[in-house]
Symmetry: C2
Subunit: 645 residues, 2 copies
Amino acid sequence: MPKIVLIPVTEFDRVRAAATEQCEKLALVSDMCRANALASVKRAGSGHLGSSFSSLDIVTMLYYSEMNTARLGVDHADRDIYFSSKGHDVPGLYAVLFSLGILPKEKFIKLRRLQGTYGHPDVSTPGMEANTGSLGMGISKAKGMALAKSLRQRRGRIFVMTGDGELQEGQIYEALQTAVHQKIHNLTVIIDHNKVQSDKPVSEIVDLGDLAAKLRAFGWHVARCDGHDFRQLENVFAQFRAVADKPKILIADTVKGRGVSFMEHPTALRSGGGIYRWHSGAPDDQAYTDAHEEIVKRINNRLARAGMSPLMFEEIPSEEKGPGSVSREYVADAFGEALAEIAAEREDLVVLDADLSADCRLRAFELKYPERFIENGIAEQDMVSMAGGLALQGLLPVVNTFASFLAARANEQIYNNACEQTRIIYVCHYAGLVPAGPGQSHQSIRDISLFGALPNFVIIEPCNAAETRMALKYCVHEAKENCVLRLVIGPSPRVVSLPPDYQFTPGRGAVLTEGEDGVLFAYGPVMLHEALLAAEVLREERFNLKVVNMPWLNRIDHQWLEEVIGLCQKVCVLDDHSPVGGLGDVILDALAGSGLLAARRFKKFGVEGYPACGTPQEALRYHGLDGATLACRLRSERDLKCNGE
Amino acid sequence: MPKIVLIPVTEFDRVRAAATEQCEKLALVSDMCRANALASVKRAGSGHLGSSFSSLDIVTMLYYSEMNTARLGVDHADRDIYFSSKGHDVPGLYAVLFSLGILPKEKFIKLRRLQGTYGHPDVSTPGMEANTGSLGMGISKAKGMALAKSLRQRRGRIFVMTGDGELQEGQIYEALQTAVHQKIHNLTVIIDHNKVQSDKPVSEIVDLGDLAAKLRAFGWHVARCDGHDFRQLENVFAQFRAVADKPKILIADTVKGRGVSFMEHPTALRSGGGIYRWHSGAPDDQAYTDAHEEIVKRINNRLARAGMSPLMFEEIPSEEKGPGSVSREYVADAFGEALAEIAAEREDLVVLDADLSADCRLRAFELKYPERFIENGIAEQDMVSMAGGLALQGLLPVVNTFASFLAARANEQIYNNACEQTRIIYVCHYAGLVPAGPGQSHQSIRDISLFGALPNFVIIEPCNAAETRMALKYCVHEAKENCVLRLVIGPSPRVVSLPPDYQFTPGRGAVLTEGEDGVLFAYGPVMLHEALLAAEVLREERFNLKVVNMPWLNRIDHQWLEEVIGLCQKVCVLDDHSPVGGLGDVILDALAGSGLLAARRFKKFGVEGYPACGTPQEALRYHGLDGATLACRLRSERDLKCNGE
């Protein structure tokens, strides 16, 4: 890991105080923020650089020149309000807020860490005006803020940034339409038109057509300029100030990865063979060093031209990330491989994607069966209803995106499809609490409950690669109902080993460790790892915990349940989900229905409250779901005290 | 009730066989279908006439002239496919399918009845190609069907009808955008542009602006014509047949209520003082008679001009609707009155609506506080996120629409708002199984589960007008968290009487009937009525059932629970909801957590499977939730047999 250095606030003060021309100054500050954003992402080990860099010049210009926010303070009722609807460009915004002294250093350097800053905006962070990260909501929220300001006679303007891929979300057009009708004129939208989505050009995923014509047709005042040219930006905002009878929208032509030659999208797409690799994730050590040097060199040249001395840095202390066991296994990889295999035998199988082909491991299928791969862009509702139409015509759609976007945003469309009694496989990727870096918008701890009340649905979460293949085969070949396949996106902390004779049978799981003092049902690689850790701790205290892998989240074989519980008087369930509406409730229901509960003690463990942002270990520990704390909680279940309790 | 008559299929055959000019023939058939649609709605006691009439000429033209469906049969793989995305115009479509012999008479005359036809399209009905009724999904589904046809080498075109108010839903624009990018060219959309939404002009709710320009900007081939002029329609469709490189969309200018002078919107809006009253609901006897006479007179004049004899009718047997007790009370009325009252003391209270102001009883507030009433049109996601922005600026938003549209479609937006730790009141109107006439798209039996896993939410359903006022006051004045107010939309079967000393206290309900043989927890006027009926039946058998009103659907006061259960060994819960994720699970969880379950027997009653369409009595009976069947099921809980079991 190379030494990570920060440009301290004092350096920004020095530049602000300098008698440099304004646009030159903005360019300097923006690059200094680039360097700091880069450092924070490298330190975090993840984060979105591509769109932080494409939007940074605009954000800098807003806070340093256009808005009154820095002057009045971020809590002033009359402040101008800025937030990003896409949200993943927040490392750049944090860097700007840090440079202005709004975001304290100790928070800024702890990107995606507990007590630090969230991977996507959260209002608990100084300077953050809205929670975003799930796409398409920003303009609607801004409308509410603008109307509230007028109702409460508050001054200040509302600025909201959107992505261009984000313009595939239907809510955007609801908001464009209602804003005009509701006469919300104190609103400026800036489209960071960097031309690239998660890893491909917008024009390839779902082209936006004549964007300016579209926006004008919705009745907005539309302008377009180079989003990296401060003079052009100033002119546009000056022009906008004169437009009082319409909401305003700027199409800012930007470059994804702007400011680091090899991350800029024209170059990066070429070198990546059409795939852009700098949307998310931290650069490796070499790329970080090269990028940092390139930015700093440019800054120092500017400083020299202005007759100023070179940048001073301070080193950021590197931080212990905690042990966090990691194996080479990704259940998502197994899913992607199995999907491409199965597709060979099943010509009726079609795959739908919402611009997450790589994350959902669909690329193998996409390349092998392009005619059966349906890229739908960031339009989950349209994707799900389209799947409904495909199913009505006798095909078997496999619908993919992140769990939180699929189960929540397209919930009514899923219900509507279900009412048609067709069969669809919904794959909820990125299910559960971890990775916890991206924050609440991405962590999915409600999806089981969102599918739970749908009749004729089976919900499955496999614990390892082998079980993932079994689960997908079951969903495609054997299931008679709609299927939900819930998959952890990160690496398995350990490869959970299933019994050699394990059969994937509806309603029946597998005992992983024998024990008679208590039974703990869990599922998925993340929570089973913690459950097994807890069992190891407890075994040393002669408390033998039976850990059971239960991949069937809404189906219980009562006979099996009775056998598994055996003589255990303590029955516990560990959910990678809220304790409401998860496996815990399903097992309790089965116990009560079959009289198995009787005098036994029953306990649910799950993700209480809103999911914490941080490393996997931080988040698990925060929610009391790491092996050690679980052991302690299970211990207290047998009426011993926990340390510190 | 006037005599209700049907124009039999033989009459349609006679007209089809006649040597009349085609457009004249279409006009005749369309009016004959109008008369039959009117009769079916009058007989059902509810249904949507306004848009059935505005779309009927187009639907007639499609099935009688443009499409191959009637010729090939509705199950032929190469058939042309038509369906309505808005779906509430289905009485008109049923009439056309009946006229063609596709929909059997015994089903057609049983609109909104069990074993008849659904209030909104359902694929189990002959000729129905998709389930619709929740708005905005149709074009997406049509895309799937069109793509499936090409993947499966099937012939036939896809036609889908949308409303104009429906164009406020964002999913429409997702589909418009993806259809062009995905090159779905075998797709024709027809906008029934009748200018009126649920009871006001589209231009007043959320204006669509320059619609043609909008649609062109999305890259569609756009045409516009008079949707009641068959010659113009034929020309447009002929022109569309020649367009192979784009999806096609027709803006059909129509008149809501077309064909009945006093229902046609220009007239009806005038006579209604700006409010259109023929969108939904059956006409009274006089209006029915006048409308029917007007249509029949026009038909007979046409027949005479064609030298044909007047229409023959057959009488439709009127049908027993079952007892179905009804009081004068509507909890929704109490909500609307209390809302307007409370708003006087609370200037921070703002009300949001999604084009259901009358149904949600918001009109009193709307007229009294226009500046604090936010009409958002049929754009639930935008409405909810806008409420989030209002809350961030310190206002208290009260968000209103039907439960199934709010809890499901805007679920992710609700979660996003919740993550900001603001406070919003979500009012889920039309919650539960009944009224069951509109069908699955409108019946809400999953909303408790959709909110259940959200931390910091309290979910309340009041049982009568008085408790509704208490509940709203609690949500506004006392609650510290987000609130969900779940309201039945229909009349209360009886006015549930609460104890004179009843206090509305978090986690505590009220005992309605004393008993020691078993306790049944229920909520809301509909299910409590059935619970009380069951108790009355059982009391005659010396089984004393304690019926408890429990308005707190996710909060239990354990001490109260223990007191209420007392010595009862049987604990039952009746949910106006799926048995998964409802009050039953919450009470079971409380019982298991507090050791109260022990040797007691626990039983959940709820809406199993998908909700049935029919009269309230039919639906309740179908799900085994009517008082008599409940008594029987409770009896079998004490190990006696049910009749016929």
